[in-house]
């Protein structure tokens, strides 16, 4: 009798659920996209989640409130994979935030991305340098709004240790190599720490360092040809970069401070270098501005949380130029719209504006930087980020996206793997020939 009662309950409960699911269908069908709905919903889809998601939402919260909009953001750590599923399935958001230009160009090629309207295209033209505009341009039409930027190639160090050793920040690559030798002679311990581990993307911190060196030593023209596949991995500019970095990264006297031998670079997670850097075990490490976010969970030798400032416990300088000109390699987020509703177009225009750029850099706790020319740098409280923004805004700065991110995916993966092999002791010429061979699979 009891069993029958349970069974009856199960059947009626599921029947009720089916009815509910049916009854939600028309209401969800009617609620989106109809003019006059209050408030209008704009769906935004991007990679940032957790704290970064809250910071993005904060950056446009004031605009949404002033314009009576409900901006519904969905974060997805697997954005890069899932956006193509959504595009193929015709289930696109109103706006997608692309973390790199290669993926975005593939999306534009599907024909589902709406070109910017004239007003927004003009705003982008006014607020961004040619280097940035060209990443969102296909066949002369502007499709994307650059929003945030990331500057890679920062060398992190401890100002107090530098003072103690009586050394200063180097101005050229040669000075950096000399500085390394000087620190080694003073401490008699490994100088640099590095971590190339990043799950299935292991190797990227290494490929970034190679690319920074190529951009700085061979110049943007050679760099662009290399990204396009016209300059081979086995050619001199690339081989020179490996040799130059090998002087540091393959030298057991110089690495891997706080972790072990040269091979431990591969097994160390890219973010873990923050720990020995904060404690003073590691004197120098090359990582992007976002390393700042990882110092929160570290401790200095004295047991306090390190302060990030020019006179604090940790600080960073840009990788000194190998050639003459200042060049920055980095990344950036772009917004592209799949909907041409007026509210979406207006929101895109806001994202391109100096107002949103100022809002971004003043979000509490955030480490956003932007290349928007209309941004007011004086509003940035963090001196490191302010410095990065100034460098990005400078029209004399050459900016390029990370070489790996701009190459075809198979080449990028071969490049990652080649760098890992190179650290593990594979002969440089062999490793480079293997990476170059991946172009045949494109």
């Amino acid at each position: 009798m009891k069993k029958q009662w349970i069974a009856g309950l199960a059947v009626s409960a599921s029947a009720a659920m089916i009815l509910t699911s049916c009854s939600t269908t028309p209401s969800s069908g009617g609620s989106s996209g109809q003019p006059g709905d209050n408030p209008e919903t704009i769906t935004v889809y991007g990679a940032p989640t957790g704290d970064e998601q809250a910071q993005w939402e904060a950056s446009w919260a004031a605009y949404a409130k002033a314009n009576g909009l409900n901006i519904e953001y969905t974060g997805d750590l697997d954005f890069s994979t899932n956006i193509s599923t959504k595009i193929q399935g015709n289930a696109t958001p109103d706006i997608a935030l692309f973390p790199q230009p290669g993926l975005m160009k593939a999306a534009i090629a599907t024909g589902k991305v709406q070109p910017l309207d004239d007003a927004t295209a003009a705003t982008v033209k006014q607020n961004f340098t040619q280097d940035w505009q060209s990443n969102g341009t296909v066949d002369g039409k502007q499709y994307a709004v650059p929003i945030t930027a990331a500057a890679k190639g920062y060398i992190w160090y401890s100002p107090s240790q530098f003072a103690q050793w009586g050394v200063t920040v180097p101005k050229t690559w040669d000075e950096l190599v000399k500085l390394t030798a000087t620190i080694r002679s003073k401490t008699n311990k490994p100088v640099w720490c590095a971590g190339f581990g990043a799950g299935d993307a292991s190797g990227w911190p290494g490929t970034d360092q190679i690319a920074e060196y190529v951009l700085s030593s061979a110049g943007p023209a050679t760099y662009d040809k290399w990204v396009a596949g016209d300059v081979k991995f086995t050619d001199k500019p690339i081989a020179d970069a490996f040799s130059a970095l090998g002087q540091i990264l393959l030298n057991p006297d110089y690495v891997n401070a706080g972790f072990g031998d040269v091979a431990s670079i591969n097994s160390t997670k890219f973010s873990d270098v923050a720990v020995p850097l904060a404690s003073g075990e590691c004197a120098l490490t090359n990582q992007a501005t976002f390393l700042e976010a990882f110092f929160v969970n570290t401790k200095t030798a004295a047991g306090t949380t390190p302060t990030v400032a020019p006179d604090g416990d940790v600080w960073a300088f840009m990788m000194p130029p190998v050639g003459g000109k200042v060049s920055v390699m980095g990344g950036g987020d772009f917004a592209a719209a799949f909907s041409d509703r007026p509210a979406v177009a207006k929101f895109m225009n806001y994202l391109a504006s100096g107002d949103h750029a100022n809002s971004l850099i003043t979000v509490p706790g955030a480490t956003f930087i932007t290349a928007n020319q209309a941004v007011d740098v004086s509003k940035e409280a963090d001196p490191l980020l302010a410095d990065a923004i100034k460098t990005l805004k400078d029209p004399n700065t050459t900016f390029r996206f990370g070489a790996g991110d701009s190459m075809p995916a198979v080449v990028q993966q071969a490049f990652w793997k080649g760098t890992i092999d190179w650290i593990n002791g594979t002969d440089q010429a062999t490793a480079l020939a293997q990476v170059q061979a991946a172009w045949a699979d494109v």
Partner: protein, 310 residues
């Protein structure tokens, strides 16, 4: 006579197996395997009570040398947000999982009954076809299902299904329920069909002679007899849906995300907050544990269903 000997033989075999399995060596082996299996979970459990900076700098086994206990991870996980908070995500998980388990079981029960006890032409072929559907991996369904949900289905100018909305990003839970139902049905129908077709024909015929229709037979005879299978499949389906990340990532929006997605998101873009995952995992495990222990007596019976017939 031959039947008797075979029964005696199988009894002897059962006794022999029982003896082998309860020998001290087998028991010791089982304990070692269980310990090895549990060790990572145990390490995670210890980690969830360690301070964030200990978790990121040293392994959990160092806990015994320097025991420092804190509830900060749990407090931080309960208040951290990634669009929504973890408690909100737990409610979303229940909203997704309960219908996600009940709908396929209900549909599968009806289908399995029809395939087992209603004689219509082509039913065997249909059963094999349904079972063969299991070969299709879920990943292959994502794009076609998204197209169906957003664009609807029109055959020869006749709109059969209008689609949920012009824009799937602002939808409710219906897409997730339907997707879980579709991917669950082949196995559910197969399991329930096996269980229902094992009911002796005499019982069914007696019920029919007494004037019971199909509805009455299903409710009063088939379902009670198949209850262990229904319950064990319910546990399976509940756990699958609860632990699912792929379907919910593709088919839900930020505010409807289940706890699996929020946990993955909490670690942050560069994994800088991954210590929150330790506590989050144990918060997410509570509901499946309750379900498992509440239904576990059915679970064992359901697993054995059909294997010891006779």
């Amino acid at each position: 006579m031959s039947r008797l000997t075979s029964v005696a033989g199988s009894t002897r075999a059962i006794r022999a197996t029982h003896k082998t399995l309860s020998s001290p060596w087998a028991t010791a082996g089982a304990i070692v395997i269980a310990a090895l299996w549990t060790l990572p979970t145990f390490g995670l459990f210890l980690s969830s009570f360690r301070p964030a900076e200990d978790i990121t700098t040293s392994g959990w086994w160092t806990f015994f040398a320097h025991p420092r206990v804190t509830l900060d991870n749990y407090a931080a996980t309960l208040t951290a947000t990634s669009g929504i908070t973890v408690p909100q995500a737990l409610i979303n998980s229940l909203t997704i999982t309960i219908p996600g388990a009940l709908i396929p079981i209900t549909v599968a029960l009806l289908a399995a009954y029809a395939l087992a006890w209603i004689d219509f032409p082509g039913r065997h072929l249909l059963f094999v076809a349904i079972f063969a559907m299991q070969i299709v991996p879920l990943q292959m369904l994502l794009v076609p299902l998204l197209r169906l949900y957003t664009g609807g289905l029109t055959v020869g100018g006749v709109a059969i299904f209008p689609g949920f909305a012009a824009n799937s990003m602002s939808d409710g839970f219906a897409q997730v329920w339907l997707t879980h139902t579709m991917s669950a049905l082949p196995l559910a129908i197969f399991m329930l069909h096996n269980s229902l077709s094992a009911i002796p024909t005499e019982i069914m015929e007696a019920a029919r002679i007494d004037g019971a229709g199909h509805g009455r037979i299903l409710r009063s005879i088939a379902l009670p007899l198949a209850m262990p299978t229904v319950a064990s499949y319910a546990i399976f389906q509940f756990l699958w849906v609860w632990n699912d990340l792929l379907v919910s990532t593709i088919f839900t929006t930020g505010k409807n995300a289940p706890v699996t997605k929020i946990l993955a998101d909490l670690a942050g873009m560069y994994g800088q907050q991954w210590h929150l995952l330790t506590a989050g995992t144990f918060l997410a495990i509570i509901v499946p544990l309750i379900v498992f222990f509440a239904l576990q007596r059915f679970f064992v019976r359901g697993l054995l269903a059909g294997s010891t017939k006779g």
